[in-house]
Each structure stands twice: as C-alpha cells, then as structure tokens.
C-alpha cells in the first residue's frame, strides 16, 4: 500500500464546514498517524459526526483541506477512497433486509470491478472476517433478528471486509450493554494492534482515555484539546470542553484518573 512519506493517515488542516447557514466546523486541524487509535470527544452538537463524515467524503465541500495518505480527499474516486477508509455509522434504526453474510459480503464492493462477480478472494476475506469478529455462528440470520450488540459487531465486520487501512466509527458502543461494550472494545483493540488506524467518536470518556493513544476534543465546531489522554483528564480541561463540573478519581490499575458521577445529595429533587 502506498503511504505518505511521514506516515500520516489523516491530515485535517484549517477545515471548516457549514450545513445551510449553520457553521458546524471551523478551523479544525489535527493529524492521525498510521496505526494510531484516536478518540474524538466533545459535547452534543460539537461537530464530531460531521467531521467523520467529511473525512469519509459522505459530506462534500467545506473550506480548508483534508488529506488521506497525503492526497486531498476530493482527488479520490469513491471506490478508491473506500479501499483506504471504512466507516461504521451510528445505529439509525433502519434495518437492512439482508442476512449477516450477505451484508458483510457487501463490504467487498470497492474491490469488485463492473460486471465482476464475487470471487474466491472475496469469500476468503468473508470467512476470515466472520471468524475474527465471532459472527460466523449467526452468519445466516437476518440483520433484523440480531440484538443491538450483535448488529454493531456485524457492522464492524462489514467495515473490516472492506480491507481498508483506516476505520472510522461513530459512537460504536452507544446503546449497548456492558458485555457487548466490552466485546466491541476488545475487537477494536485487537484490530488496532494488527496495524489498522482507528478514529472513533465517543461520549464515553473513561474508555476513550484508557484505550486510545490520543484524544481530540471538539467544542462548538473547533478543536479545544488535542493531546494524550492523561492531559485531558483534568477537571479544569474537562469543564472548559463540556461546560459542566467533573469528579475524577484514581483508577486502581491505570495512572490516568477516571470520571465518576457526583454523589447523590440530600437536596436532590
């Protein structure tokens, strides 16, 4: 695979984006190196999802520059871009009518040429991805019959079947129970260890700081923090980003503190 000289997978430079009259992103700049695990955090409406969609060219336009492996994102053909970046969207409630196997196989689309059919290599990748994500056991089931956690794993499996080097995820563990959250996080960590670059939008700061190499925090469309997790987990930094106070405690197994909910008080309504 062709890499840019300095191993930068994603380079967002002075990027701004409007939807209608609303300015969603402004002067956003950050870089993601190949193989990094980066979490994008921030309050609701900060522009996190829009940023991911601009990187994957689901949203087009905007001012400034987004480069993927050293090339402007606009210069890619969509299929070519899909071979470099895969994307797992937020669960939107729409249920695809396909079986797990059919859905994951659709991840091979960027590798099919017009009129070509699914080949031996595609089937090999399918089998490998189904086993890696532990989805092979329900490969014949319809997506609509799966639990939220199983469905999210299948979406990640389909993105992995794309064979891209970068995986973008939009709140992959929201709405999931603890067991499925843990399973998804284990899977993402394993995928990252295998060399894949991961950029995930999340509201779960505790897990974001424990699992990612770096955190980018957005606030009202701008980057307010970009650095290692340990520096984010300070009450004054968090307060600036979220406009609300935080209580932090030491983690028994990690040098980075974690957030705990405030204790219930007697004057609670």
């Amino acid at each position: 695979m062709q890499q840019s000289r300095d191993n930068t997978a994603i380079d967002v430079h002075d990027f701004g984006f409007c939807i209608g009259a609303a300015e969603i992103l402004r002067n956003v700049s950050f870089r993601v190196a190949g193989g990094q695990y980066v979490a994008i955090v921030g309050p609701n409406g900060a522009g996190k999802t829009t940023l991911l969609k601009c990187i994957d060219r689901i949203h087009t336009g905007g001012v400034g520059r987004i480069e993927i492996f050293g090339r402007p994102v606009q210069s890619y053909r969509q299929r070519e871009l899909a071979r470099r970046i895969s994307y797992v969207p937020q669960a939107d409630g729409h249920v695809s009518p396909f079986t797990v196997e059919q859905f994951v196989m659709m991840g091979r689309y960027p590798h099919l040429s017009p009129f070509s059919t699914i080949g031996r290599e595609d089937r090999r990748v399918l089998r490998q991805v189904l086993e890696r994500t532990a989805t092979a056991e329900f490969a014949d089931r319809l997506l609509g019959t799966l639990s939220g956690g199983e469905r999210q794993t299948v979406f990640i499996a389909a993105a992995l079947a794309q064979g891209a080097e970068v995986l973008l995820l939009d709140e992959p563990t929201t709405f999931l129970d603890y067991r499925h959250q843990a399973a998804i996080r284990r899977l993402l960590a394993e995928v990252n260890r295998s060399g894949m670059t991961i950029v995930t939008v999340t509201h779960d700061l505790n897990h974001a700081v424990l699992e990612s190499d770096r955190i980018v925090a957005l606030h009202q469309g701008s980057v307010m923090f970009d650095g290692p997790a340990a520096e984010l987990m300070k009450p004054d930094v968090l307060r600036r980003i979220y406009d609300t106070p935080f209580t932090l405690v030491e983690h028994p197994q990690s040098p980075i503190p974690v957030i705990v909910p405030p204790a219930a008080t007697e004057d609670r309504p």
């Binding site: 994957d56 689901i58 969509q78 729409h94 396909f98 689309y109 960027p110 099919l112 009129f115 609509g144």
Partner: protein, 335 residues
C-alpha cells in the same frame, strides 16, 4: 428453496405464459400454427399480426414497470414507491388529455407507428422527468426525500389539470381521457408498438441490471453506500433516468397500468429474497409474465368485450400478494 431454482421456475413460468398466450382468444389457435404450413392464413395473420405483438408489448410493459418499481423502492427505501411515484404517469396522462382535448393526431408520425396520444404521452412523461429532476437539483445535492416530494407534488398538480380538462371537454373526449387513464393494451395492433416500447425497456432494464450491487448497498442506507465506495449521486441519477424513461416509454403505448410495478417486486422479494442480483431478473420475468397473463384474461374472460387490464392486475395480484404476505414472514418495512 434455492434462489437458482426459484429463478429457473420463474423462467419456466414466463416461457409457458409467452408460448400459450398468443394461442388463446376468441379464435383458438393450435400450437402447430408456429411451424405447420397447412394452417389457415387468417389464423396466421391473427397470430403474427395481432396476438404476438400484443403479447410482446404486454411482456415488455410488465417487465419494465416491475423493474422500475423495484429500483424506486430500493432507491427511496420505501415499500410504497411505484413506477408512477415520481409523477411520470401523471405527466404522460396530462399529455394525452391535452392531445385528446385539442384533437391532435400527428398523422405524419403514423409511419413510425406512433399515434398522437403516444407522442403526447411520451412528451408529457419526458417533461415530467425534466421538471422533477430540475426541482430536485434546485436544492443542494440530490436528496431522495426532495425528489420523492417533488414527484408527489407534480403528480397531484397534473392530476388536477387532467380533471380540469375532463370537466371542460365534451362527453366523448372526456370518456376517451378516462379510458386512457385506466390503461390497456387493446390499441396494440402491430410490431410498430413493440418497437416503440422495446428500446426504452431494454435500455432501462440493462442499466438496472448493471447496478444491482449498488441497489443492494442503497437498500442499506445512502451513507453506508457512500462509505462502501458507491458514487451515490451518479447511481441515483442513472436509476432515476433509466426507470423514468422505461415508464415513459411503456405509458406512452399502454397507459398507466397499475399494480404490477408496486406488487411484482414485493412478490418476487418474498420468493427469492432481497439480493438485487437475483431479484432483478426474477422481477423482470415475473412482471412481464404476470401482465401477459392478466392481458390474456382481460381479452378472453368477457369476450368479445375487453376488460381494462389494470382492473385484472389488481384483482388477481391482490389476493395472491395477501396470501404470500400471510403465509410467510414477509417484512415489508425493509425493502
């Protein structure tokens, strides 16, 4: 049942219907008429000059409407989408209503097998395509929701204009308009009509067949399709023009025949599944054969009177569709 077997059964069903339909009618013709030399000339004329062209047009129309309906249902992720959702049929009907009201004949076009109503229907359909496309482009991007709403709004406006023209026309012209809107194949009398429909249906169906992987991905959501590498805007434009041109070509010759385009894709989806690589050929075969079957019944069940075929498509297809719906676990919210 394996999808290959279902498709083979569909092929067999279509072949059987296509082979037997031209032999049925007031004048019964033996199957030997296809190859024997001692068949009366009158029967040969009925077979080759009347029935085969009509059966061919019915098959092409049914196939074109069904495949267009399937493409729209996938594109809009809406199980209620039909080939007429974007107002193409209303545009064609308005063209015909104007033609009948004004008494236009376009006699100089008869040599290419086109009547005045066909020309006006095609013009009306094409103008609607341009209008709906233009309205959609007027807003940023190529939003399916905007296109759907623009189509529905144009359709309602044209329907009102048709009613107005019916109201101000004399009774005989008003009846002709009403009869045309019911749709039918009784005006198909030679191979000129086949040639008028053929290029639209063949080109439209080939484009849809070429885009079956993309249709599968669109069914799972536009954003997901983009992230998998589909040029969604270009694909949607190609599908919009392919389906609309097919419907325009069919409606110009047969009028707006309802039901086939809505239900044939659903019936096939229940039998062969949602994968468009299999669903598209199945829908093409089933839609075509189903309309041939309905038209054969329409011209024989009350002979010598002919029923408008649109009445039979709904009458036969409705109960069959309900039976499928109740006997299987069809999820019609997921196209």
């Amino acid at each position: 049942m394996k999808r290959g077997l279902v498709l083979l059964l569909m092929l067999g069903f279509a072949a059987a219907v296509l082979a037997s339909a031209p032999l049925l009618g007031i004048e019964r013709i033996g199957i030997g008429a296809f190859w024997r030399a001692d068949v009366p000339q009158e029967q040969i004329d009925i077979l080759w000059k009347l029935r085969i062209p009509r059966v061919a047009v019915a098959f092409l129309a049914g196939a074109g409407l069904a495949v267009s309906g399937m493409a729209f249902q996938a594109m809009f992720r809406n199980p209620l989408a039909t080939p007429f959702t974007l107002g193409v049929a209303s545009g064609a009907s308005l063209g015909v209503a104007v033609c009948i009201h004004q008494g236009w004949t376009f006699a100089y076009l008869a040599w290419v097998g086109l009547s005045g109503t066909s020309v006006c229907a095609l013009a009306g359909a094409l103008m609607t395509i341009v209008l709906v496309y233009g309205l959609t482009r007027a807003r940023s991007g190529f939003s399916s929701a905007t296109m759907l709403l623009a189509g529905v709004a144009v359709s309602f406006s044209f329907s009102s204009l048709i009613l107005f023209l019916q109201y101000v026309s004399d009774p005989s012209r008003s009846y002709r308009m009403l009869r045309w809107v019911m749709g039918g194949l009784e005006n198909v009398v030679d191979f000129g009509d086949v040639l008028a429909v053929l290029p639209f249906v063949v080109a439209g169906c080939l484009i849809v067949l070429y885009l079956t992987h993309e249709l599968n991905l669109l069914t799972s959501g536009e954003e997901l399709a983009i992230s998998r590498g589909v040029e969604v805007d270009r694909v949607k434009k190609a599908l919009f023009f392919a389906a609309s041109m097919t419907v325009g070509g069919v409606v110009a010759v047969c009028g707006p025949i309802g039901f086939v385009g809505l239900m044939a894709p659903h019936i096939c989806r229940l039998m062969i599944g949602p994968d468009h690589r299999w669903l598209t050929p199945a829908t093409l075969l089933f839609g075509g054969a189903f309309l041939v079957l309905c038209d054969t019944l329409a011209r024989t069940c009350m002979a010598p009177t002919e029923l408008p075929v649109g009445i039979l498509t709904a009458l036969l297809g409705g109960p069959f569709f309900l039976w499928l719906l109740l006997s299987r676990r069809g999820d019609f919210s997921a196209v």
